[in-house]
Amino acid sequence: MHKYAIALTAAGALALGACSRNAPEELPPAPQMPTTTAPTPGPATPGAAQPGTQAHFMQMMSGRDTIYFDTDRYNIDSQDQVALQAQAQYMMQYATARATIEGHADERGTREYNLALGERRANAALNYLVSLGVPANRLTTVSYGKERPKSMGANESAWAQNRRAVTVVLN
């Protein structure tokens, strides 16, 4: 009886944690498709971004270019793993692609600590990608601390969207 109650509580807490830590269902806007009048160089078909570019990466990831963190945390959870696995597959498919991982923090912390925190988050993502086989020499990190928020709000859901690591393919 006791054991059961404890297990239930733990599961409840986990579920709650998962709710609060991830950004709302709202996904980033779909990547802009180049118009047909702008011919893309290379073998790309009209309307599709060229493989190995940031535009193509964004298109293929459809939101999985970004992972989210709890306040002051930098651990990679199962949802992050799914996103990072997709990123890793992309990076291995396009073996010349290089990427930088931008680490960010929400605005509710001091500036310098947030720079350190953003760097730690970016490295957590980088380490996971490397563990999946992406060569480390194709990845770099940069921290923006709280200087480049994605969501302009000043509330919990905005801050949850801003505690993030974003992988950007370098063209």
Binding site: G109, R111, E112, Y113, E119, R121, N123, E147, R148, P149
Partner: protein
């Protein structure tokens, strides 16, 4: 006097009455009563001083609760021996005299010091009255203290500014000083005069004649332009240093004002640069591919503290200001960030989340003897040691961010501000005022604020655009 080229303009501010340079003596024309040009004045004997203090109800330990706060001080326009053109004021030295008194008045009024009355609501004394005040006039205006001053333009355009403090009740001079300044430095003479009045009457060290480096902010919240900027302690002589193409953050004036350490995203990555004010040249503090941030000067200006992230973990390092091999001072799996030296350079207070959240720690200057000092709940961030050594200001995070102070052992914690987000305190040179930046919820707009170490007299420091990361330098050399 400094001989480095960048200090040349500052070096022209010569203490007149103490040094009594020949040039200043010559500047006193034969016509007018030459204030202060008789002989080198001697300070009043101790007995007189004691008398004055007794009469004013001053005691040995001065706090802002002392009666000096209530002193009425009249600051009429500074007089001039002869109204003549000066590069410092298009209308001549008489108008400049008015401006000088306005600056002295604004310094005292804006900082909540005394009960000053400015030149715009006072009669203007003649040049002769500067050394022989009409005490009856000022007594009638219920002024307990009187500031008189004069300005004279020399043949070389340099200005001689005299500043006198009189006790109206005792009809006696309390103190006088004078300075020779380049026309472009005329405000410094006014700040020196305000410092003289303030320090003489309060017993505190001066602080007005100092500068502030900060980050000027413009543009939308998600792509704000952040530029390095500098200004005088009262916001005057504002100047942008960087253009805004690369994001600039967290400046720190060197103790001699010759350089500014700051973080720049030049080339896309955050690294610390030294900006040489005289030459405009920038150099990397340490050659490394890793991000470096949170730069700090040692009190002697010979060493620099910085934080560097390696594979995601940030530690604090020390390097010689001239370069060389950095020495790592911390070694923990947590983020160790920032650092502020005690005034004697023997210890460093810094922040670390090694315990699980940001807290403040102290270590010896060589990195030994690290111990946590903050145990009052919430988080402790951006600790800054007071120039007096008695207190550490920091950002206390418990939901909101607030500026607070504690003793170097972590005791006596008290908040100085209560707002949504106040952070990054920096000390006035005399350790009596804390400056910080306040972020507005929603817009994210930042502004500079000051508050007395007592927690009173909170006021905003006007800046042309948004402002953050203030760094208050020492009293100018």
């Amino acid at each position: 006097m400094k001989t480095k080229p960048f200090l040349a303009p500052l070096g022209t501010l010569v203490l007149l009455f103490a040094a009594t340079p020949a040039a200043a003596q010559q500047a006193a024309s034969a016509a007018a009563p030459p204030p202060g040009s008789s002989t080198t004045p001697t300070p009043p004997p101790m007995s007189q001083e004691a008398l004055i203090e007794q009469a004013m109800g001053l005691t040995g330990s001065v706090t802002d609760e002392s009666e000096w706060q209530d002193l009425g001080i009249a600051i009429p326009a500074f007089a001039t021996n002869r109204d003549q053109p000066t590069p410092a004021n298009t209308q001549g030295t008489a108008a400049l005299g008015q401006e000088l008194a306005r600056v002295v008045y604004a310094d005292l009024r804006n900082n909540g010091l005394f009960r000053p009355t400015g030149p715009d609501s006072l009669p203007q004394p003649s040049y002769a009255q500067i050394t022989a005040p009409e005490y009856a006039t000022w007594r009638g205006r219920s002024a307990e203290m009187l500031v008189h001053g004069y300005v004279r333009a020399g043949a070389d355009d340099r200005l001689t500014v005299g500043c006198y403090l009189y006790d109206v009740q005792l009809q006696r001079e309390v103190v006088r000083e004078g300075w020779v300044v380049a026309p472009g430095e005329w405000r410094r003479a006014a700040h020196k005069c305000a410092d003289l009045v303030y320090s003489r009457l309060s017993g505190e060290d001066p602080f007005f004649d100092s500068k502030i480096a900060y980050i000027a902010e413009t543009g939308p919240k998600d792509n704000r332009v952040k530029r390095l900027a500098i200004m005088d302690s009262d916001g005057a002589n504002h100047r942008f240093i960087t253009g805004g193409t690369s994001m600039a953050l967290t400046p720190r004036y060197s103790p001699d004002y010759s350089k500014i350490l700051y973080l720049s995203y030049l080339n896309g990555f955050p690294r610390i640069f030294t900006y040489d004010i005289a030459t405009g040249q920038q150099t990397l503090v340490t050659e490394n591919r890793n991000p470096t941030f949170a730069p700090r000067w040692a009190p002697d200006g010979q060493h620099i503290l910085f934080s560097m992230a390696t594979a995601g973990n940030t530690e604090i390092y020390r390097v010689r200001a001239t370069g060389g091999q950095p020495v790592r001072l911390t070694d923990s799996p947590g983020l160790d960030v920032g650092g502020s030296y005690s005034p004697d350079g023997s210890r460093i207070v810094f922040e670390s989340d090694r315990s699980g959240s940001q807290q403040c720690y102290i270590m010896d200057a060589d990195g030994s003897n690290q111990r946590r000092i903050s145990f009052f709940g919430g988080r402790c961030a951006t600790p800054e040691w007071s120039p007096r050594g008695d207190l550490i200001a920091f950002t206390h995070i418990a939901g909101d961010l607030r500026v607070a102070v504690m003793t170097p052992s972590g005791g006596g914690m008290r908040h100085l501000t209560r707002s949504w987000q106040d952070e990054a305190p920096t000390w006035a040179p005399n350790g009596r005022i804390v400056q910080f930046f306040r972020t507005q919820r929603g817009s994210g707009e930042a502004s500079l604020w000051q508050v007395d170490v007592t927690g009173r007299n909170e006021r905003r420091l006007p800046t042309p655009v948004g402002a953050s990361d203030p760094a208050w330098g020492p009293v100018l050399p």
